[in-house]
């Protein structure tokens, strides 16, 4: 087995005192692409945020391990340096900090002190990656996400992904708000990352993304748990039939997290 392994075991998460995740189990190995699907409000973003260490989410039970290391003991920046990456559903806007300065800091944060990337090399790589993603050159000098359109923000997340080259990435609705051409471009970028080492978990509502990036595993979340897993055919069936049949199969009336199972 190549690459890193992210193990999520019996994960329970609260936000502001409300229980959202109620025992999530999931393992992502290097080289694998996973898709997580599920209706609105079933805990998908909560899972992603808890893995990355969002300050508002409190893990009350369970474990997250990266190559056996306890992720929950790590600060947010340490998680990133250990190889985790989260493309956020709603990336922050940061005024006065140029995209390019930010990216360079991010890359250097993954390198040893004294081994910072040279400015020339950085610019070359950034230009090339922006090219792949069909991004306007002046996006580099604009302030981080400030005034970016929904689609531009998503592309910018993938730009970071491609430049930081993490071991395991979680992409939270990277396809929402993208027009069809942009979706193809973003998928191309993600597929370029694909190799025997890189592990990826894509949260999505649509089969559309999975047509371009075929997942090895598909999981469905409801009520703050993974309730069903399968191969790419599961996503296909969800696209055609929706979630009703799963709810029936499992006897779930209300799939959101507020309900007791």
């Amino acid at each position: 087995m190549a690459g890193s392994t992210l193990e999520i075991k019996d994960l329970h998460v609260e936000i502001e005192g409300q229980q959202i995740l109620k025992g999530v189990n999931l393992t992502i190995n290097g080289g694998e692409f996973h898709a997580v699907m599920g209706p609105n409000g079933t805990g998908k973003s909560t899972l992603a945020s808890a893995v990355m260490g969002h300050p508002k989410y409190e893990v009350t039970k369970g474990e997250i391990l990266l190559d056996g290391e306890d992720v929950l003991e790590m600060e947010v920046d340490e998680r990133a340096q250990a190889g985790l990456f989260l493309a956020m559903q709603y990336p922050s806007e940061i005024s006065g900090v140029t995209n390019s300065d930010f990216l360079r800091s991010a890359i250097n944060a993954h390198r040893e002190e004294g081994d910072e990337i040279s400015l020339m090399k950085f610019i070359k790589e950034m230009d090339a990656t922006m090219n792949t993603l069909d991004m306007d050159k002046n996006m580099a000098q604009r302030y981080l996400n400030e005034g970016f359109s929904g689609g531009e923000k998503k592309r910018n997340e993938i730009l970071q992904l491609m430049m930081v080259q993490p071991a395991i990435a979680i992409l939270d609705e990277i396809d929402s708000g993208l027009d069809i051409d942009a979706l193809k471009v973003v998928a191309k970028g993600i597929n370029e990352m694909r190799n025997s080492e890189f592990g990826c978990l894509m949260i999505t509502h649509y089969q559309r993304l999975l047509n371009y990036i075929t997942p090895d595993h598909v999981h469905v979340m409801m009520q703050g748990r993974v309730v069903k897993s399968g191969g790419p055919e599961l996503a296909q069936r969800l696209e055609e039939e929706g979630y009703e049949w799963i709810k029936e199969e499992l006897g779930i009336e209300d799939e959101t997290v507020g309900q007791k199972a």
Binding site: M52, G53, H54, P55, E75, V76, D77, R79, A80, Q81, F85, L86, M88, P91, S92, I94, S95, G96, V97, D101, F102, S105, A106, A109, H110, Y143, Q160, V164
Partner: protein
């Protein structure tokens, strides 16, 4: 009630000082008149800051500085203000109270541009200076500090741009307070005639951590019809200097005055930046960034007053507060009756880095006309934990993430300063003050 303050400088002193500089008669008269007024006029009353006990009168009034023959003779701290790559063609360096170095592009000189220290300007262009000096913008008898200023003015520059002259290269002035007890009562007069344009930037620096003195700065900017003046400043007086800074613009028809002020003093500071949009379609953009640390007390007022129709004003004030410092940011957008179709916008934000610091943002809109638009945004808060999380999720340490956010918060002024070296120097000052 006015507190009695007796000035250490009397009529005889002021008369001799003026004569020693061979000033025109009008200037001597103004000084003496102002000296008289300074005893009876009250101090200004900045909103929510009591300045009654501040030192505005104890200092060494006149200290000559040595001239320099070449910029190589400057110490590093002053060289920092100058671009190494690009030679500064238009530069005045004032050392204590006298001109140490001055140069202006020959081509500009031929076009009638004047850029020189105030003493020389008064001797050589007395009539021209008289036309504008404390006439259109700041008045001598507004309060005790303007009167004191007029009576004891001991430095500054005069910048005159004739009609239709567009100056590409920035004009730079460095006010170097080498003597730790020297006051600086500095007068900057910028006159841009019709359809001219100019970018001016000034740096203030002193070294008096222990010694006490005071600075009283008045800058007047006159933009005639269609003129454009961009005014940048980095104030960096040390702890011992109490600062009063009054920068005021008067904008006539179709003119533009832009301010980018990095107010980085270490001592107690009261600063007002007022622009009068007199002419129709005149425009002003007033940006200030400030940092408070230690037990420093500061009061900043940015005011744009609209008289002309279709005039447009935008105020931005960003402050970072540390330790036990306190600062009040007053943003005033005022639209006078008759200034229809005008627009007054402002944004005041204060970032608190310590729980013992105090920061107030007071946005005020005073509108005496119906057909206008106006808006304001104000906030006082800490570094946003969600922004921190976002940056840290890319591997950036908490320290570095905060640093990026703070520099970003102060970027609006840094970005607008014209000379690369001055941008870099302000960035360094910010870095030093925040960490």
């Amino acid at each position: 009630m006015t507190v009695e303050v007796s000035l250490p400088y009397n009529k005889e002193y002021v008369t001799q000082f003026s004569q020693g500089l061979q000033e025109p008669q009008w200037m001597k008269d103004l000084r003496l008149n102002a000296l008289d007024k300074s005893e009876s006029l009250p101090l200004p009353k900045p909103d929510k800051t009591n300045i009654q006990g501040w030192n505005f009168t104890e200092f060494n009034h006149h200290v000559a500085g040595e001239t320099i023959d070449s910029l190589d003779q400057l110490p590093v701290e002053i060289k920092d203000f100058l671009d190494e790559e690009e030679e500064q063609k238009n530069l005045v360096i004032q050392r204590n109270h006298t001109l140490a170095f001055g140069t202006i592009d020959e081509k500009l000189k031929e076009q009638g541009v004047i850029f020189t220290d105030m003493a020389t300007a008064l001797r050589e262009h007395g009539d021209l200076v008289e036309k504008y000096y404390m006439n259109d913008a700041v008045h001598m008898d507004e309060h005790r500090l303007t009167a004191l200023h007029a009576a004891l003015m001991n430095g500054g520059v005069f910048l005159y741009v004739p009609k239709n002259v567009q100056i590409e290269d920035p004009i730079q002035a460095i006010f170097w307070q080498e003597d730790p007890e020297a006051s600086l009562i500095n007068h900057i007069l910028v006159v841009a005639e019709e359809n001219s344009s100019v970018t001016y930037v000034e740096n203030y620096i002193s070294n008096n951590k222990e010694e006490k003195t005071s600075a009283n700065i008045v800058a007047e900017v006159i933009a005639k019809d269609g003129a454009k003046v961009s005014f940048g400043a980095v104030d960096n007086f040390e702890k011992g200097t109490t600062v009063y800074a009054n920068r005021r613009g008067v904008a006539y028809r179709d003119s533009v005055i832009e301010w980018a002020l990095g107010q980085m003093n270490e001592g107690d500071t009261v600063s007002e930046n007022i622009t009068h949009l007199i002419g129709d379609n005149s425009h002003s953009n007033a940006k200030t960034v400030a940092i408070g640390r230690g037990d420093q007390k500061q009061n900043f007022t940015a005011n744009i007053t609209h008289f002309g129709k279709g005039s447009d004003g935008y105020i931005l004030q960003h402050g970072v507060m540390k330790d036990k410092s306190s600062a009040i940011f007053n943003g005033i957008g005022k639209i006078e009756h008759g200034a229809s179709k005008s627009n007054a916008e402002q944004e005041s934000r204060v970032l608190m880095l310590s729980k013992d610091a105090r920061g107030d943002a007071n946005p005020i809109l005073l509108i005496d006309e119906d057909d206008v638009t106006a808006g304001h945004a104000a906030s006082v808060g800490r570094v946003d934990p969600i922004q921190l999380y976002y940056l840290m999720s890319r591997g950036i340490s908490k320290f570095e993430a905060e640093r990026l956010i703070i520099h970003g918060f102060l970027a609006p002024v840094v970005k607008q300063l014209p000379v690369e070296a001055v941008k870099r120097q302000l960035t360094q000052v910010i870095e030093r003050k925040v960490y």
